[in-house]
Symmetry: C2
């Protein structure tokens, strides 16, 4: 068996059944292996950032490794931005990066680059395979490295002759990663803090933001009067009627610091200490005020859900969690604003929706309006590198073929990886994109105002303005095979959204803000 | 004066008057400086690969540094693929990469990444600025590093507080790089080889592929019966009626080796030894057969033009160069093929055209047909990382506002950086794109056939096929504000091309192969 076939078989044995690929000449043996070995769904992205972002979305929704197949160093480089977001989401990702024949690397031919250097900048594990014989075990190790809690990026650089050479066959990877339990001492410290604290907040992260973790946290919160928070950009948050609510920390540091300043104790459960997204003069990086005591109950790599359940037991709590009650806003009317956008989505979103939020400045109202809508999964913009939304939605739809996906998407950011629309069309994915067309890098305009520049000069204004020429998203979507419509009012938006959710395949709705 | 203003003034003093930008929050002080200091043309790209590719095209056509302004690590990462191509073109590029406030980096906030690691993988020089006081001189040094022959990538990582902090003002960079002269001994060796060689080829590269270098090489070639070659993918080649011709080395190694095997001596003038693009079983990386003697007259970082002129003198050559005679193919008729594409372009291309070739499998016939067309500049796909063409054409048009630019562009590759069309529309650039719509990664289909796979299985076939769904380039172009038309025959193609060249602003012609 050649290395390529053993690689695909190793992946299948590890339960990996989807490959997000943009292959080149050096990966041709893997294409042959995909035909030789049945069972792998190979999903073509017309840009590597689509593949890595889709792998991230897939991993967040399946807890399996997102598996990418990328071409050489510069091709891999195109995928780094969304790997950065995946790294911040703690998504397990395995990248296969093609490389020249081992004997051809030193010729320094045009496509040759410092692949290891590029991969190292964004991966927890980087291995260059030296022979076909080593390939299957190296790949199995990469899968294990990716699944190592809380989830990491593992990159394997595979020369072409390691794909064509003979090896002994697939290697079984150990794929049941355990998030280690926390020590009992930390339970006691957290329990003590909750008992003595004047006011306590619990900051939840990672898998603690799913039903079991939220239930445990909510039971504690209800019984002991603790507030529940999550980071501004959670990787994955379960939400809606029947699920306990958490409050998202505000984006701007002065607001977050203000929000946290009333607590004497903050318990971290599956997240690290929150920090400001950017540094601003006169404001600290840390969002937790100095007078507030921080207790780490569970680190991101530990079992925060189990820890919260144990903490509830330690506190002898018998009460139930407080689930959000069913409630939806009315369908909105009139012009489209961030608020009516949020109302439109919340008023029609179906149960089980996966909402991928890269709406940036247009997104907040929906979050505030959606506590009581039918249960849905919220995927946040973890790493701040724009162009995450459309690819992430693509991968989430591959992971969950029975659920609807909404890409709630800012226009400036969508331009980075719009190629994902083509993959959605090819794969017939039930992804609806709401393209929030405010025709600007609105967040930069806000930051200019925050910096005291009320009237930006022509060059500053031009650098944040997307109206010259106007982007026509209906045309862009049609160009990639996705049915699309432009809407100018909130009622038509809600109507079109309901229609898109009811139909199969992808849709794009350009909402003119 | 703050660091941002001193930076812009340092650039202007160095003759840099265009900035290819995709700024973010940490670069806001630079936006203010662009308003405060007149003279810098700030060109917005809606994806960083547009900015870096445009900087490359600008540098190739102006010999000035291409200047980019990029946001943080992941944003910079989006620009790496085209920096890779620029590195292989020996284009001088200076990147300003925004970074958090110095005191905020250690907070490891979401956007924080290993910027130095990323930059190092593709830059000859990477410097992290530590204070505003250091910024102007660090930037001047970066400009000098970029201009160091034959042209390099220099990346400067600039924390936000180094932009807002006070400094002493701009620093003058030394901007007249000298390509050093070659030692006389090498002239003698080359002259000796030409005199004694049974058959000699001269492989020209870098600036030797402009009129003066080509004239000198042609005089030698004519008098001493030497053949003139250039690499398969020259960064910049002057071509057409009145200019001596060079032959491009074939892409596939067996053909290149065959072509070079008849020479007893090969003289390198401004290029290094040619190597195969990919490694193939049974074929060497080196394209020059072992029995052939290689003489390096001038390395890429040396003055190859001067060396060729001196070599002609050493050989006491008095004859004139052989310039290509004026000749154009007839306007083609019938269906569109790579050949009729080439005929259509060659039959109507205006004098002074800059042709950016990322046509991949559709491009070769035009090269063969265009020896005698009105003089034009050919920019090749140097690094093999796809997505170079549209951005490179954008930058070339900014560098040469009085010339027409043709982006001769493959469809699969165009998808990587299609956002460049928007910049062309915004800036009103005279760029015409011929989109060669063969609706496939045709080069991969060829490579599959070369690997002996005559009938690829469904997965291999799917990974090289762009028909499900079909990309509609007219829609994509309209979506970004570029007038576009689809053409099905070669005569309409030639007609539309002539019309596009006659009109101002950008155009896209989708040629259905």
């Amino acid at each position: 068996m050649n290395g390529a076939e053993a690689l695909i078989r190793t992946a299948l044995q590890a339960g990996i059944t989807a490959c997000f690929a943009n292959p080149g000449t050096t990966e041709i043996p893997l294409l042959q292996a995909l035909d030789a070995v049945p069972g792998m769904r190979s999903v073509l992205g017309l840009f590597e950032g689509v593949c890595t972002g889709a792998a991230d979305g897939f991993a967040r929704m399946s807890d399996k490794p997102g598996f990418t197949l990328l071409h050489h160093g510069p091709g891999f480089a195109n995928g780094i931005a969304n790997l950065h977001n995946a790294r911040r989401a703690f998504s397990p990702i395995v990248n296969i990066i093609g490389q020249h024949m081992t004997w051809h690397v030193e010729a320094d031919s045009p496509l040759t680059s410092d692949i290891e250097g590029l991969a190292r900048a964004v991966s927890a594990s980087v291995v260059s395979v030296r022979s076909a014989a080593d390939l299957p075990s190296a790949f199995a190790h990469a899968i294990e490295a990716a699944l190592c809690p809380p989830g990491r990026i593992a990159s394997l650089i595979v020369p072409m002759d390691c794909l064509t050479g003979e090896c002994r066959g697939p290697v079984r990877a150990s794929c049941a990663p355990r998030f280690p339990s926390v020590e009992s001492q930390r339970l006691s410290l957290a329990a003590e803090a909750i008992r003595i604290g004047k006011s306590t907040a619990i900051l939840l992260g990672g898998r603690a933001l799913r039903q079991a973790g939220l239930n445990a946290a909510s039971r504690i919160g209800a019984a002991m009067n603790c507030r529940l928070f999550c980071n501004t950009f959670p990787a994955r948050l379960e939400r809606g009627a029947g699920i306990p609510q958490v409050e998202r920390l505000p984006y701007f540091p002065e607001q977050a610091i203000e929000r946290l300043s009333s607590f004497s104790h903050i318990i971290l459960a599956g997240d690290r200490e929150p920090v400001s997204f950017f540094g601003y003069p006169g404001l600290p990086s840390r969002l937790i005020p100095d007078q507030c005591k921080v207790i780490s109950l569970a680190a991101p790599a530990e079992d925060a859900t189990e820890a919260l359940q144990a903490l509830a037991e330690e506190l002898q709590i018998t009460g139930a969690p407080i689930a959000a009650e069913a409630a939806r806003p009315e369908r909105p009317r009139g012009r489209i604003s961030p608020r009516s956008l949020g109302e439109a989505i919340a008023s029609v979103q179906p149960e089980g929706l996966i909402l991928v939020d890269e709406a940036v400045t247009s997104g907040l109202p929906h979050f505030l309006l959606s506590a009581g809508v039918p249960p849905f999964t919220y995927l946040g913009h973890t790493g701040g590198s724009i162009g995450q939304g459309l690819p992430c939605a693509t991968g989430a739809a591959i992971a969950c073929p029975d659920r609807k996906v909404l890409a709630f998407q800012a226009d400036g950011s969508a331009m980075y990886t719009a190629q994902a629309l083509w993959t959605q069309a090819r794969e017939g994915l039930a992804v609806t994109t709401i393209l929030c067309a405010n025709r600007s890098y609105r967040i930069l305009q806000i930051e200019l105002a925050r910096a005291g520049i009320e009237k930006p000069g022509p060059q500053s204004a031009a650098m944040t303005d997307l109206t010259r020429p106007e982007l026509k998203w209906v045309d862009i979507a049609h160009g990639m095979g996705v049915p699309a419509i432009r809407v100018e009012t909130a009622d038509v938006l809600a109507e079109q959204l309901a229609r898109a959710f009811a139909e199969p395949g992808p849709h794009l709705i350009e909402a003119m803000l």
